[in-house]
Point group: C2
Chain length 160, copies 2
C-alpha cells in the first residue's frame, strides 16, 4: 500500500472530527496515531461533551485508543497527527506516551480566532503557575505523602 501523505492523514482526522462535532459531542478536533511503518493505529476526535469527560480531547483519545490496541502504555516510534496545536494536557500525554513527532494543522491563533482560549494554560505554566485566578495550588501534608514515596522507592519499580 502506498504511503499515505500528510494531507491524506490529516483529512482522516478531519473526517473523524466532523462525526462528533456534527452530533454536538465535542469541538472541531481530530487526531490519529501511526506507527513507524506508516500504519494507522488509531483515529479519534474530541468527545468532551458526549463523554462528560474534560480530558477527552482528540489527542488523548487517540493515544488511549492506540495504547489499548497495542497493549502497552508505550508508543515509542509512533507519530501523532492532530488538526490543531495540542494544549498542555495533550502535550503532556504525548510526551508520556513516548511519541516524539507531532504534525499539527491549525496553529494556536487559529483556535483563538474561533473562540478557543487554550493558550491561557500555556501562559499559566510559563508564568510558573502563580495566577490563582486560574488555579490555586497549595502544599499540604507533604510529610504524610512522603511516606508513600519512600515505600515506592524501596520497591525499586518502574517509574510511571
Amino acid at each position: 500500500m502506498a504511503k499515505k501523505t500528510h494531507k491524506e492523514l490529516m483529512e482522516l482526522a478531519i473526517i473523524e472530527a466532523r462525526k462528533t462535532m456534527n452530533k454536538d459531542l465535542g469541538g472541531p478536533f481530530g487526531a490519529l496515531v501511526i506507527n513507524d511503518k506508516n500504519e494507522i493505529i488509531s483515529v479519534a476526535s474530541n468527545t468532551v461533551l458526549g463523554d462528560n469527560d474534560p480530558t477527552a480531547h482528540a489527542e488523548i483519545n487517540a493515544i488511549r485508543k492506540a495504547t489499548k490496541k497495542l497493549g502497552t502504555h508505550d508508543l515509542s516510534g509512533c507519530t501523532l497527527y492532530t488538526t490543531a496545536y495540542p494544549c498542555p494536557m495533550c502535550l503532556g500525554a504525548i510526551i508520556w506516551s513516548n511519541i516524539k513527532k507531532v504534525y499539527y494543522g491549525c496553529i494556536e491563533s487559529d483556535a483563538d480566532e474561533i473562540g478557543f482560549r487554550d493558550d491561557f494554560i500555556y501562559k499559566f505554566i510559563e508564568n510558573k503557575r502563580k495566577d490563582i485566578s486560574i488555579l490555586d495550588l497549595e502544599e499540604k501534608e507533604r510529610s504524610t505523602c512522603l511516606k508513600l514515596f519512600k515505600e515506592y522507592k524501596d520497591k525499586n519499580k518502574p517509574l510511571y
Copy 2:
C-alpha cells in the same frame, strides 16, 4: 458528619495509591475530588501500567471518575487533593475541568528524589517547546484543517 481534615483526605488518597502500587499497576500517586460540601466524589490512583494507558495518572483518573459520576464535564466548585504536585498533563486536565483549588502533598523535588523526572515537561513548555530531543512539533496542512475550524465557527457551538 464532621468535615474531613486535609490529613484525612490525603490519607484516603494514599490508601488508594497503595492498592495499585502494590499490585504493580502504577506509580505511588493518589488523588481525590471533593465537592463544595466537602463530600468525596471520587478517589483514584495511578494505573498507567495496569491499564496500558499513559494518561492514567491519579489526577486524570480522579477527574474522569468524578465527571462520569456527576454526568458533566464541569467540576466547578470542586477541589482536588493529590499526593504529589501535578504534572503538566494533569494540570491541564484540572484546569479544563474547572477545578480551581488543588492541595498537593509531595513537591516536585520529592518526585525527583525517588527517580521521577516529571519536571522536564514543565521545562520543555517554559522553553517554548523548542527542544526537539523531547518532542518535535511541526505544522502541516494548516489550510486543510482551517476548513474544519470554519465549519465549527459557523455552527456557533460551545467551546470545549
